[in-house]
């Protein structure tokens, strides 16, 4: 039993997502189901989320109609599968400023939010560039920057400059600069509390989309394969992946890509009445299973 209970909670999905976006390589080689999910971490008096989901009120219909995003359910319903309400959330780690990770800033009225300084600084910088560079700033919602400003004025937006150990006990934040985005961050949970943890989990944000990013598609010839989209560089993505693997002792299933559909078969899970999935990674002492 670790110090924290940890679940990955789907809140929507795209049923036909191009594999080539998840795993850099040939185009038109297939499609996969892509869950949209966030991570719930509970323990040590904390209720923590990694990422928040997107702003369904503003563009849910647009995403559904034009991008095939389906079966969205609100955080109140998704978190309830683990006995948590949005008001219970104490801490949110924002891995990067894309709309589907940062769009729910308004949903957690009692939480403090953590994001990398580099992520915010560089988004704003990139927008000083001309429209020919808009590739670099796609998927960022100016409304999220306004929401972040509101939170900062309330003292609830903590801007982290680089790596930070024990942001809460046993949980570290790591900057993966110039990877998927300018200031992407991943979250390491050392669930035994030890500095050289034997029970570590890494929540990769979008720096890893699928376990295949760690092995490629040929099990006889494994190698690191970057995701399709990097506003930074794909070499930085690979080095960041290698660091994540080191943090979990090479056990790549412990690096969690929330968009990986196979999480529900790799770990204990259940389907909810809404057709979403609760994936259970760890249980702290005294915590009941939410999937048994």
């Amino acid at each position: 039993m670790g110090k924290y209970s940890i679940w990955v909670l789907d809140y929507a999905a795209v049923n036909k997502f191009p594999q080539s976006v998840m795993l850099y390589g040939p185009q038109y080689v297939g499609i996969r189901n892509l869950p949209y999910a966030y991570v719930l971490i509970k323990g040590q008096g904390q209720v923590i989320l990694v990422d928040t989901g997107y702003d369904h009120k503003e563009y849910g219909k647009y995403l559904a109609d034009l991008y095939g995003v389906s079966n969205w359910h609100p955080a109140s319903e998704v978190l309830a599968e683990c006995g948590v309400t949005p008001a219970d959330v104490t801490t949110v780690f924002i891995t990067h400023a894309h709309f589907d990770h940062m769009g729910g800033l308004d949903l957690f009225p009692n939480a403090k939010f953590y994001i990398q300084k580099r992520e915010l600084d560089q988004w704003v910088w990139a927008l000083t560039l001309g429209p020919e560079f808009r590739f670099l700033v796609g998927a960022a919602d100016p409304g999220d920057i306004v929401k972040a400003t509101r939170l900062a004025r309330e003292g609830r937006m903590i801007v982290v400059d680089g790596d930070r150990d024990d942001v809460v006990p046993g949980i570290d934040l790591r900057l993966a600069a110039d990877t998927h985005t300018f200031g992407s961050m991943y979250v390491t949970v050392r669930n035994d509390g030890a500095r050289e943890s034997q029970d570590a989990w890494v929540f990769a944000g979008d720096n890893v989309y699928t376990y295949d990013n760690f092995t490629g598609l040929d099990p006889n010839d494994p190698y690191l394969v970057p995701i399709g989209l990097a506003t930074g560089s794909q070499s930085n993505l690979l080095f960041s992946s290698a660091e994540m693997l080191k943090a979990v002792g090479g056990e790549h299933k412990r690096v969690i890509p929330v968009h990986e559909d196979r999480l529900k078969t790799v770990f204990p899970s259940r389907a909810t009445a809404a057709g979403l999935h609760v994936v259970e990674l760890a249980l702290a002492d005294g915590e009941a299973s939410r999937v048994a």
Binding site: V21, W123, L127, T128, A140, P142
Partner: protein, 150 residues
């Protein structure tokens, strides 16, 4: 001689102006965010404010000459209201009488509300550029079903 549909012409002319306003909004709110997290004693670079000023100037020029058919009058109204609010936000950012950023934040929010309204009214005017969005990449540029069932 073919006639360009007035609404189509309006949309094609309004889209870049909307983009200018969107970018100016991000720059001003980004400036305020950086100033807020840096704290009251920090010296904050005004580069983003200058960048926003240029974008707002361009948007204002374009909106002055933008003619909207009756069916787009409401849409244009929101764009103009967004511009007015962001001009006031810019003035607050450049003034010395708004040390806590209250006025700047107020007008940033107001501008954002109007840009959201424009986005709700018209596809293609969303404040998020989904065409570059990794997690929505499959749908860029065409209705979803048409891309996979055609």
């Amino acid at each position: 001689m073919s006639q360009v549909d007035p609404l189509a012409r309006y949309i094609s002319e309004a889209e870049p102006l909307h983009d200018l306003l969107r970018r100016g909004l991000i720059q001003l709110s980004g400036f305020l965010l950086k100033r807020t997290v840096a704290g009251p004693r920090a010296i904050v670079d005004y580069e983003h404010v200058e960048g926003a000023r240029e974008r707002i100037r361009e948007a204002a020029e374009g909106l002055r000459s933008l003619r909207a058919p009756t069916s787009a009058a409401h849409h244009r109204g929101h764009l103009v209201a967004a511009l007015v609010a962001i001009e006031r936000a810019l003035a607050a950012a450049l003034s010395t009488t708004d040390p806590d950023g209250d006025a700047l934040f107020h007008f940033v929010q107001e501008s954002e509300r109007h840009l959201r309204a424009v986005g709700r009214a018209t596809p293609g005017f969303e404040t998020v550029d989904f065409k570059q969005a990794c997690c929505a990449m499959q749908g860029a540029g065409a209705p979803f079903e048409a891309r996979f069932t055609g």
